[in-house]
Every structure is written in C-alpha cells, then in structure tokens.
C-alpha cells in the first residue's frame, strides 16, 4: 500500500511537472506572435516609468499611441522617483483638457519599491529584490494588465516576470512591449538583456541599428528622442 501511494504520488508529480513544462514552452512559443483575434475593445495598459531620460522617451511614445485603445492606463514608477509620475500626470491632464472632462478615470498612478538603487551593492540587493517582488506581485494582481509598456528601468523586470507567470497559470494573457533606451547603443541594459534572453518581452524594440544586428529578434525603430 505504502509503495503504491508513493508511486502514485511520483507519477502524479512527474505528470504535473511535464504539463507545467509544456505550458511554459507553449507560452514562450505563443509569446511574440501577434494576437490572432482582431482587437475590439480597449486594452488595460500598464506603463512602467523610469527616471529622467527613460520617462521622456516613454512620454514620446504615449503621445502617439491612440489613448482610446490603451485604456485604462496604470502608471508605475519607483517609490524614490517623484518626477516621473508628475510628468505622467501632466500628460494625462493635457489629455483631459483636449477631450473634455470625461476621461478623468482612465489613468491611475502607483509607486513601487525598487529592487536595486543606482550604486547599491549586489549583495544587499538580494533582500531588496525579494521585497520588490512581493510588492510587484500585489500590484500586478490588482491591475492584471493586458498590455505592458516598458523601456528600461529595473523595476520593469519583476513586473514582466509576474506577467509571464500569469500567462503560464492562465490568470491573464498580456503582451509585453519593451523599448530599449536610446542611451543603449552597443549593448543592451541588464533589464533589456533579461527580457530578451528569457523571451518575456513579446516585442523588443531597439533604437540603434547596431543593436538589432546583435539581437536579431529585436525590431529596429529609429530614435524616439
């Protein structure tokens, strides 16, 4: 009897692991392929903002995206970064001014703990990364975005990893778009490299042709700035 139970448990474990592996492989295979169905309604969109130059590039992209397709919009910036959300608020306020008072509810602004501050040692960042992951998980559970737009700050890595996990377990299928910063000419940033290599980004954009030659799955789109 004991033996029999053990065998059943092992068989069950092997089967579920195999199924999980297939599911992960399927998600990797399916990610990066255009969505087959024609999009009808608006898609909830998470926009990950970084400091300084990153935010300026993201704002330039948002200015040309059709706001009625990417709605509601959730902005996330690092808890230590007050400037970026302020810039996003200005952008959203200008939209409200253009379109009348109707669209007040389509944007939300949130802050997230950073896994690593600029200059922080890699050793202490193990702990801060865990805290950041938990916080990211909580935010992602609340938002469950259909589209994620990010362009380089480290905060986007945990968020995108959780999005991938949601795809695997079937909570939410999201499309992750990553635009590597214009400051990256010859080498990808660590965030970019991770999202590219792990195939977490559905579409990966670079702003310099020499990067596209090194990373053939990336799309070269010219300069955003």
């Amino acid at each position: 009897m004991e033996n029999g139970n053990g065998e059943v448990a092992i068989t069950f474990a092997i089967i579920s692991l195999t199924l999980m592996l297939f599911r992960v492989l399927y998600v990797i295979y399916r990610s990066g392929k255009p969505l087959r169905t024609e999009a009808r309604g608006a898609l909830s969109t998470l926009i990950v903002l970084g400091s300084g130059g990153h935010t300026a590039e993201m704002i330039n992209l948002l200015l040309v995206l059709q706001k009625d397709r990417f709605s509601p919009r959730f902005y996330i910036a690092a808890a230590t970064d007050n400037m970026s959300l302020q810039k996003a608020r200005t952008l959203e306020n200008n939209l409200v001014d253009e379109n009348g008072v109707k669209e007040v509810q389509t944007a939300q602004f949130m802050q997230i703990y950073r896994s690593r501050e600029v200059g922080q040692s890699y050793f202490t960042s193990v702990w801060t990364t865990l805290v950041a992951m938990a916080h990211a998980f909580w935010l992602m559970t609340k938002i469950r975005p259909q589209v994620i737009l990010c362009n380089g700050p480290g905060t986007c890595v945990p968020l995108c990893a959780i999005a991938f996990f949601f795809k695997v377990v079937g909570v939410r299928w999201s499309s992750v778009f990553y635009v590597e910063s214009i400051a990256r000419v010859r080498r990808l940033s660590l965030s970019g490299l991770l999202l590219y290599k792990l195939r977490i980004a559905d579409q990966f954009f670079v702003q310099w042709p020499q990067l596209q030659r090194q990373y053939p799955r990336a799309h070269y789109v010219g300069c955003l700035m």
């Binding site: 024609e38 995206l65 214009i182 400051a183 000419v185 954009f205 789109v221």
Partner: protein, 179 residues
Amino acid sequence: MGDTEDGIKLKKTVFVTVGTTCFDALVRAVDTPEVKDELLKRGYTHLIIQMGRGSYTPTKSGGDDGSLAVDFFTFSSSIADHLRSASLVISHAGSGSIFETLRLGKPLIVVVNEDLMDNHQSELAEELAERKHLYCARPQTLNQTIAAMNLESLLPYPSGNAIPVAKLINQFLGFPDDK
C-alpha cells in the same frame, strides 16, 4: 565680433550642466585656467555652471578685467532658459540633457563621467559625436576639444519619431493600421 567702439563685447555665454548628478571632475575642469583661456580665445565672455550635487565650488568672477565672467548655482527650475540663452553648452552625458540641448539646436560638448560604475552613457555621446551632432570629451581633454572644435561642421539633430514603434504595437495587438 566685439563692439570695440564702446569697449563692450557681445555677450556669448557658455552653460555647463551636470543635471542631478555629482560631477566635480567636470566643474573642476571648466574652472581651470586652461579651459577658461580656450573659451576666451573662442570669443566666449560668460561662463555659467550648474554644479548639481557636487562639492567643488568654482571661483566666481565679474570678468571686468577682460577675463571670463564666471557664475554658478546648484539647481534651478529654469535650466531650459539657461540652455536657450547659451551660445555653447557643456553637459554631462545624461540623455535628458543631451536631447534637450540638441533640440534647441545649441552647439554641445558632452563630457563623459569616467567615475560612474556602469558607464554606458559614453555609448550615446560617442555615437552622436560620430554622427557629428556634438563633441564628446573627457574632463582632462576638454580644453583640447574646445581648441579644436569647429562648430560649423556640426549637423542638426533630426527630432525623434515614435510612430514606427506605435505602428508595430498596434499591428501586434490586432488594431487596424489607422483610423
């Protein structure tokens, strides 16, 4: 260029900006007699330094004795105004400062901070220098760059365009191309 009749020279300002960073090596470099001399030789009359979080304080000067007038401050909400009224901008390598200056069509020397741990920023400055949109220097070579620069040879930077990205994102999600 100077209006010799009145003895008043045409005001030509050099604006130095380090953004929100700490970049003493640059502030120290522009405060050296070598750099100031070269700036004077090139016809600049005023030097304004935005020194950010740095601790090195440059020496102020009224510039009455025919030397360069020097002034500095830490931060200001009117960086854009300073950029606009400058004849030459010397900046740290942050992409924000670089593109703000290029968009205003101002001649720009980007000085790379070699003390940064992850110094990817030199990539952008070097690429844009190769494309002749700006000059790229190190703190210790700044005076040579100023002496050798030919501002006529700089090319205007074409403004960026996010539409290709937006198009690909829309296609991927199954939105029609235009509406």
